[in-house]
Subunit: 307 residues, 2 copies
């Protein structure tokens, strides 16, 4: 019998770990709880970047060159939009638009996000359970030296250049976990935290009080896969942001961040790790399917050891 695994995840790195878990677990035993703090409306369309990255990655549609969006994408929409004087700071691929248009229409029709995402996953042949962390609006907002920025403005328009002073999650205090999230954490044999940015991708999930409490309460060991590789982030602004927040860019800081409910940690190669935390080591760079499966196996084995 394979263990029931629930993984909290954000963007690209997290999606790779989930792909690795998908290769070694029965689909029915795998649940991904996904950050929706990045979700926003653009031209009125409901965009869920982290959910879509996961859908694209798991269905083999992800654009590996860009690191976002679809492989083989076309860009007629953006060209026409520019010709009409429309805002073009956020790139919407032609195929990518289908997710946003259909999601927006179904949300407007009163369907819950979790059902819509579940249908999308099934349509693309994915057997795991993908849950948005919440169906209530939570907006990750970055306080920077250039002012308060909505997450996508910071991440895409300003390409993470502004120095971050603080991050907050508007709406998180009152947001309820999406249906199934608490059960997925409470009833799991193993809970994993993907190597996503702790401050930008995992913290929005933890900011939903009931989810944080479920992580404290669950009998499952919670194992964190560190997002750091030799004191750097694989991709994205993790290391830069840690430095801006006055934090040492190392696994001690990651461990301290998840302190209180983290049972163990997967760290990269020979990277330094806190002495008081059970640790497993592997090359956490996930270039190909083999890498992803290996990191998933190591994380899972550590967690099962800690039960």
């Amino acid at each position: 019998m394979s263990p029931k695994v629930t993984v909290l995840t954000g963007g690209v790195g997290g999606a790779k770990l989930v792909e690795g878990l998908g290769a070694i677990l029965a689909p029915a035993d795998l649940t991904a709880v996904v950050n929706t703090g990045d979700d926003f409306r653009h031209f009125g369309l409901a965009i869920s970047p982290d959910i879509d990255t996961l859908l694209y990655t798991l269905s083999g549609k992800a654009n590996r060159t860009l690191g976002w969006g679809r492989e083989g994408e076309t860009w007629s929409f953006m060209a026409a939009l520019r010709s009409l004087g429309g805002e073009d700071w956020f790139n919407l691929g032609d195929g990518d638009l289908a997710l946003h248009v259909l999601r927006s229409a179904r949300l407007a029709g009163g369907e819950p996000l979790s059902r819509i995402v579940g249908d999308f996953a099934r349509q693309w042949g994915l057997g795991l359970t993908i849950l948005p962390m919440s169906e209530d609006p939570v907006e990750t907002r970055v306080d920077t030296d250039q002012g308060l920025l909505a997450f996508q403005r910071y991440f895409v328009e300003h390409q993470c250049r502004p120095a971050v002073r603080a991050v907050d999650f508007v709406g998180a205090e009152t947001a309820r976990p999406a249906p199934g999230v608490i059960e997925a954490i409470a009833c799991a044999d193993v809970v994993l935290i993907a190597p996503s940015n702790p401050w930008l991708s995992i913290d929005p999930i933890l900011a939903v009080a009931a989810i944080r409490q479920a992580l404290i309460d669950t009998r499952a060991p919670v194992v964190v896969v560190s997002p750091l590789v030799a004191g750097k982030a694989v991709k994205g602004p993790t290391a830069k942001l840690m430095a801006e927040l006055g934090l040492a860019v190392n696994n001690h800081t990651i461990a301290a961040h998840y302190q209180g409910w983290m049972a163990g940690m997967v760290v990269h190669g020979e990277d330094a790790a806190p002495g008081d935390v059970p640790v497993a080591r592997t090359d956490t760079l996930m270039h190909d399917r083999g890498d992803r499966e290996r990191v998933a196996r190591v994380a899972l084995a550590l967690a099962l050891d800690l039960r």
Copy 2:
């Protein structure tokens, strides 16, 4: 000084006449009042087929092979939509989506359709004035042997196959003309009715009571370009629909339809025409720019003769 011309128009045939008028008039002297009875929401997006056909035709972007949409269009959106199980009876090209997404967003932001359309036209370098007939919802509905169908369901999904018993325009009784429409008719030197389907494309405009009254009141001669060519329609269901409504498919029927305010008529070649109406003759098939300009010149000359 060139005459001020206002043309009432619907789809492809009408757009060709407007293009011809654009070639012989100063842009500031040309106003097109466009049917919005075909407008509908699809996936929540506001789609204005006749306005968009006019925008595409005048800006040289129209797809001549398909007879709708954009030249050089890509179809990634529809492919992705199908993979997600979305409804695919209405084709939305990737570039075409830009008009719908931007229009929907601006409407949701409270902007009036006429301003949005005006901006689109300006962005694409068009100098004429394009006015939706109304900014209030008017829905062309076709009563057929397969039941009551919304226009696009009849026209696109059922490809005009059902036999038509009647056509009505839901909302027309209370719809107000869009700003500028009445003035454009009242102050014109010449009013033209494009060779669009009288029952499906022109009647929705006439169903707005104030517009019909303006046509009766205007001192400008109103000249109709017949949509019939040798007892047939160039394209679309005009002739089929006339027969289904029990009408003779000839110019006498067209003249009777516009009776009361029509001052003259442009008919094709040697086609029979009612004896009591001033008529001008030309080949009304508008294959190329030269044809379009010629038909425009003939219609304009007849109207100026009738002043």
